[in-house]
Subunit: 197 residues, 2 copies
């Protein structure tokens, strides 16, 4: 490619990131080299820092710089509500909305017979022990509205038992969504869950 | 986002790379953090190395790790042919095809009245001095088939004078291209430049 070993290695490595391919990795690396004092050196330094400090929260699975993440460490978040998400990215998406004030539990994926992912791979045992240890009153299953996500939600609801409030996110028309562009499944779900005005 | 300063800064920086946005930057950073020993640390090290060693070739504008790039330094490439490209990425694309055996000259863009890019911004004076200094016999204008690219090609051809062979890449149907998917301009160019079988 560039006939230079280090630059080629950097392009190969960048090309393996999710969302980037060989072509966009080449563009990104050329951009970084062009602005190496302004971009490449600070980016490398920041990556070193994050690589040295980032770790998973032992309680919820969120990514932060201490063994217990800021959310789990904050006494303000001990509301008795636990929001179960598939992924750290989903936790961050929930936090951006700024509405949920409780704590989180990151599963690390969904149950999948095809990929041989069982409850033990998913921090589900940890979730069940947290529910008793932290005197949780409501578990909100904020899993993706996919087949695997919903299967996982049903499994968790079964495991948690009946003496606990278990809820899931509402399904319906997204804010700003136009009916004409929505799939049939969303429209029928929104119709079934219709509310009196 | 992650409520962590360093991780947020890393996401912001990655989001500014061409081809990445906030969402793909978050995905990429989470992927890197998950595999920090395997990916993030080596990537940071490699970026440090490239930031310290990468520089532009003083002769052709290619990116490499010495003041004169491998292509300009190689005596085998002194064929008297000079291939003019807009960008380092274009040079690399030409090199991947493996057909051209001469040397390159990277313009660093195209002439553009709109963006106030004149010949001085484009290493065109350097090109003209190279043509005499390196006893060039043919200049191949491998510029993009865009309006700006073709304007620049015409300008350079005018500047180089008549005592030199100036050629440009052939225009026509790309290999594997289906006529039905090609634009009218390409088809008419291919028809005008038709060859006897």
């Amino acid at each position: 490619m560039s006939s230079n070993r280090d630059i080629d290695a950097l392009i190969d490595m960048m090309a393996k990131l999710p969302g980037l391919g060989p072509r966009s990795a080449r563009r990104a690396v050329l951009h970084l080299i062009r602005k190496r004092a302004l971009l490449l050196t600070p980016l490398a330094d920041l990556m070193q820092t994050v690589a040295a400090t980032a770790r998973e929260c032992v309680t919820c699975g969120n990514v932060g710089t201490s063994d217990t993440c800021d959310i789990c460490a904050s006494p303000k978040r001990a509301t008795g509500e636990l929001c179960v998400v598939e992924d750290v990215a989903d936790l961050w998406a929930m936090e951006r909305s700024g509405v949920f004030k409780g704590r989180y539990h990151v599963l690390g994926g969904t149950l999948s017979a095809l990929d041989a992912v069982g409850p033990e791979e998913l921090r589900i045992p940890k979730l069940i022990s947290r529910v008793t240890d932290e005197s949780i009153t409501e578990v909100i299953l904020a899993l993706n509205a996919t087949v695997d996500g919903q299967t996982t939600a049903h499994y968790i609801a079964d495991q948690l038992g009946a003496d606990l409030r278990v809820t899931s996110l509402a399904q319906g028309v997204p804010i700003g969504g136009e009916l004409d562009y929505l799939d049939d499944g969303t429209i029928s779900a929104a119709l079934r869950a219709r509310k009196q005005v």
